[in-house]
Each structure stands twice: as C-alpha cells, then as structure tokens.
Subunit: 325 residues, 2 copies
C-alpha cells in the first residue's frame, strides 16, 4: 500500500506519521520537541531521523515495502513560498528565508513538498474529516494564533503569493487592538487563546467578584483561555462575558468568510473548540445576524474530527495534491 | 463571427449589447430605462425587444448571420440562484423569487444564463479589461452599494449558494454603522456613495467652515459623494477628511481580501473611481499597513478599463463560462 509521510512542524513540537494515499490510515505517528534554539539545520536533522524511524515502523506494522513511501509533505508556519520550498519568516522558530523543503529532501532523500500548516489542517478535514466531500470549505485553527485555509472546488486556495487563507489577519475593528502582525483590529488580536486570556485579565481590572482571581494561585498573569472557559462553565459572570465576546468576534470573522467565499462547511479546530457549545452556540447566532441567509443556510459550522492528527494527515494530502497538479 | 448578447440589468436602467465570443468587440450597445414599477414581465418584454433590435443592428453592422448569436447572458442584482435562473430578492426592482432567466428565454427564444451583476463586471475586467490574464482577481464596484466578485484560477467563485463575492457586506467594525442588509459595520455602510455623503453630512454638524455648505444651494440633504470629492480637490478640510476616511475603510476591506484571497489584481470600478488618486493613494497606503507584505507585493490595485461596458461584456462572459463548464 502506498504511503506519504506527513510532517507537522510547530514552534514547540513537530509530529511525523505515515499516511496511506487514500487518507484512511495513519500509522507510526510520533511527536518530538522542536528545540528550535538549536538551529534550523539541527531541527531538520531530527525531523529526518524521525521520518526514517516512522518509515521503519510503518513497514513493520503494515508490511509495506520501502518503495511504497512516495514522499514527504511538510506543513510549516507561514509565510512561505511553496514553489521554492522556502519558509519566509517563522518567528516561533527564529527562521528567516530558510529552504526547509530542499534541506529535508537532502536529509531524507525523499521527494518533498512544503505548505502552510493551517492550509494542511484544512485540507485534512476536507480529505478525510469533518468537511469530507465538500466543494468549498473554510478551515480555522484557533489556538496561539488563528490560522486559516480555504478550499475552492476541492483545491486549496493559495493565491498569488501563498498568503491566501490568513483569516486570523482580517480586520474586524479598523481602530482595534494591536496584532502581532503589526496591523490593528485583526480577528487574531481578539479571539486567539492569548487574546482571550488578555481580555479576561482586562475584565478583572475592576472590582467584580470572579473565580478567575483564584486560579493559578491568584497569578492573573498566568491565566489561560481554557481557564476562562472552565470558569464560564461554572457560571462565572466575567468569564461568561469574555466567552460571549469571543463568540461575537469569531462569528464576525466567520460571517465575513460566508459572505465572500460562501462555503459548504466551516471547520473549527484548535484550543478554542475545547469550549464547545459555550462558544459555538453564540457564535452561530452572531453569524446568522451578519451573513446573508442563503450563505448561512448553505454552511455547516462544525469542529474538526482529526484533532492533533490533522497536521500530519494534511501535510500528506498537500504532498499528493501538489504532485497530482 | 459568433456573438453573445449581454444584458446588464439595474434598478434605473438596463443595457444590452452584442459581444463577440473573444470579448474584443462589443457592438450595438443600447441602454433603456428599467421602469421597474411596470412589473417584472413588462421589464422582460422590453429587454427582449431591445435584444431583438441589438441582434438586428449587430447583423447590419458586422455582417453576422442570425445563427451566430449563441445566447443571452444576464447580469442582475443578487441574491440569485444561478442553477434555476431565479432572482431571489431585488429590492431596487421590487422583485421576489422571479424566474428571470426562463422568462427572458421564453421572450427571446434564445438560450439564457443568469449571474450576479458584480460578478459579471469582475469577469469582464478579467476577460478583456484591467485584470486580463490574471489567475486570481478581486473586483469591487463601489457606487450606490458595494458589489464584489472573486475570480480563482480564471473562474468566478460562486460558492455553495451563489453568495460568494459580497465584499461590501463584510464587517469592518463589529459595532459599526447599520447597513441596509441588516448587519452592523459592513464596508458598504461606510464607503458606498450614499454612505460617503452621509458621513459628510455628519461632519457638517459642527461649526467648521466648508465648501460643502454651499453646494446644491445649501441643501445639505442633497449632497453626493462626487460633490465631496470635488470639494476635497478644492482643498476643503472637512471633505478631505471624509475622503481620507473613505480610503481607510476601503483599504481595510481590500486588505482583508488580500490576506484571504491573495489576488494578483484588485479592480475597482463605479462612482468612487471618479475620485482617482485622491482616494487611491491613501487607500494603497492603508492596504500596505494592514495586509501581509507578500500579498501587497503580489497585488496590482487598479481601476476598471471597461467603464459602463463592463456589465454587458461580463454578462456575455458569464454566458460563455457557464456553457463551457
């Protein structure tokens, strides 16, 4: 059975797995710390080592032959240039103009393809997950940042310079919060995990009673989005308001995608999905007030089915899509 | 030489012309008042009559045969359903669930295709205008409303229910101005012609001296966007500020499209283009501060080349795209 190796590269860890070319089977998945401070070439050497052991394990588990492994797909934080396989800037990795694809190709002696990590996650959910079979799909991964991917007619939209899908960096308030990207009022500056925690800290500036004052031994600086969700579930008023606002911001961002791309499915993934209906219900309500009715009626808003696997499966899918194109 | 008839249907007038199938030649163009109050079937009867005389005139002018006219493309205000050829709601026409395509087919005995007017205008500029040859294009027609169209891989993006491209109805201020669509903070509520005039009227609420107080014999209620541009060109401070804000809002909307769709070309058309560099220069500056650099560098921001012809040419293009698909 033919396989593609998927590599999901993040700032703190990377994951590698072997994915069957129908997407149905992922084997020998393993995750390692990225240790970016050791330098890019060192990271690549360790990824290559992990790829080799994933191949060995997949052979042992499935009886595949060595020739069954067609290549390596890599999902990496953008911005990047796919045609040359270069990561342009990756602040979390400290990389600048790094030729990741060619270095990994040299280190693994396998054909390699590079794509954006959020694109890969979206492609995975379209391939074998929550958006399977849909023609037009929006994917959003809401965690430390907000990544996005857009699928049109069953193909990733990359745009003219591989920037397409940066939904987290669309403005929802023209004079709004400063975003790490330099812009003001980006969706990410309101609804990423750290932004949720920051808004909660600001809400605690007043005198109001809140469970949030007690978590982390009272160290408000250490507050996380997940702790905000938990407190909201306990009925904490301040936490509930922060969650409601988060739903409103996310709903605005999604509604903008409904009115411009008009997808069949919107797949949400990442830390924010831990909040479940607490966020999803008011988010859907916000979308209904903002987007055109035929767009609302056409779109299923769902959470991803693949969880942590999405990055690895999607990197393999990106490899196959690129080689088929 | 084969031709397609293009019909551009608006609330106040409709235009009909014969377009050669390479898009290079448009002949026998004529424009008539819509007179929507006479009812939809009456409008269709008059469009059909105009189509017949356009065909006659095109034959006389070009020596084409009657069999050279392949069909009719119709650009109409959305929302609409292309598959069934139905205009869902057109407030300016007073139409609701009107089967425009089939009625025009019956009245003309020609094969007919229906698409959104802003989609058609974008398609025309891609076909033979300012975005010719580009792969990914954003079109925006900024006039009484703000219509939009998105071209991906040389094809119009329609989405799951023909809503795609409604760029005017993306939120740029979550708690912003009320829009006619029912939403708050839409781009259209800030940067359409009437919205520009409204913001100018609000700016005149204070005591500041302004040329705008003198136009229309002092009737501020009659103020138009074009008068605001003219006053800004004369150096009027209040008018300049309104224009600067307009550029900022439009730049925000365009930047959002750059970060999500990452087009090669953004084509601007409609009344706002009369302001020329007065709006385009600060708009480009705003886009640069908001969108990712690779997206900014990849995108030409230009005004349309086809002017009033865009609707007719684009309706013909939509016909050909649909019949080729």
């Amino acid at each position: 059975m033919p396989f593609v190796i998927g590599v999901d590269l993040g700032g703190t860890k990377f994951a590698v797995g072997a994915v069957s070319t129908d997407g149905e089977l992922t084997v020998a998945c393993r995750s390692e710390p990225t240790l970016a401070s050791r330098g890019a070439d060192d990271v690549v050497a360790r990824i290559a080592k992990t790829v080799a052991s994933v191949v060995d394990q997949a052979i042992a588990e499935t009886g595949a032959a060595r020739g069954d492994f067609l290549g390596v797909g890599i999902g990496a934080p953008g911005p990047l240039r796919r045609a040359s396989g270069v990561v342009v800037v990756a602040p979390n990795l400290g990389w600048h103009e790094y030729p990741l694809r060619d270095r990994l190709h040299a280190a693994t002696e396998m054909d390699a393809v590079l794509d954006n990590d959020a694109n890969c996650a979206t492609l995975a959910e379209w391939w074998v997950g929550a958006a399977k079979g849909a023609n037009t799909v929006i994917g959003m991964t809401i965690g430390t940042g907000i990544g996005g991917g857009i699928i049109v007619d069953g193909r990733l939209l990359h745009g003219a310079s591989d920037v397409a899908g940066e939904i987290g960096h669309t403005t929802i308030e023209t004079s709004g919060r400063r975003c790490k990207c330099g812009n003001y009022g980006c969706l990410e500056a309101y609804a990423s995990g750290p932004a949720i925690a920051e808004r909660a800290r600001e809400a605690l500036d007043g005198d109001g009673h809140s469970l949030l004052r007690m978590v982390n031994g009272g160290d408000i600086a250490a507050l996380t989005a997940e702790q905000v969700y938990n407190a909201a579930r306990e009925g904490d008023e301040i936490a509930r308001e922060v969650v409601r606002d988060t739903a409103r911001y996310l709903g605005t961002g999604v509604a903008n995608m409904l009115n411009t791309v008009n997808p069949e499915v919107v797949v949400l993934a990442g830390g924010v999905t831990a909040a479940g209906e607490l966020i999803l219900a008011p988010m859907r309500a916000e979308i209904r007030t903002r987007a055109f009715r035929p767009a609302v009626e056409a779109a299923r808003i769902v959470t991803g089915e693949l969880g942590n696997r999405a990055g690895v499966v999607g990197a393999a899918a990106a490899y196959l899509a690129e080689r088929k194109a």
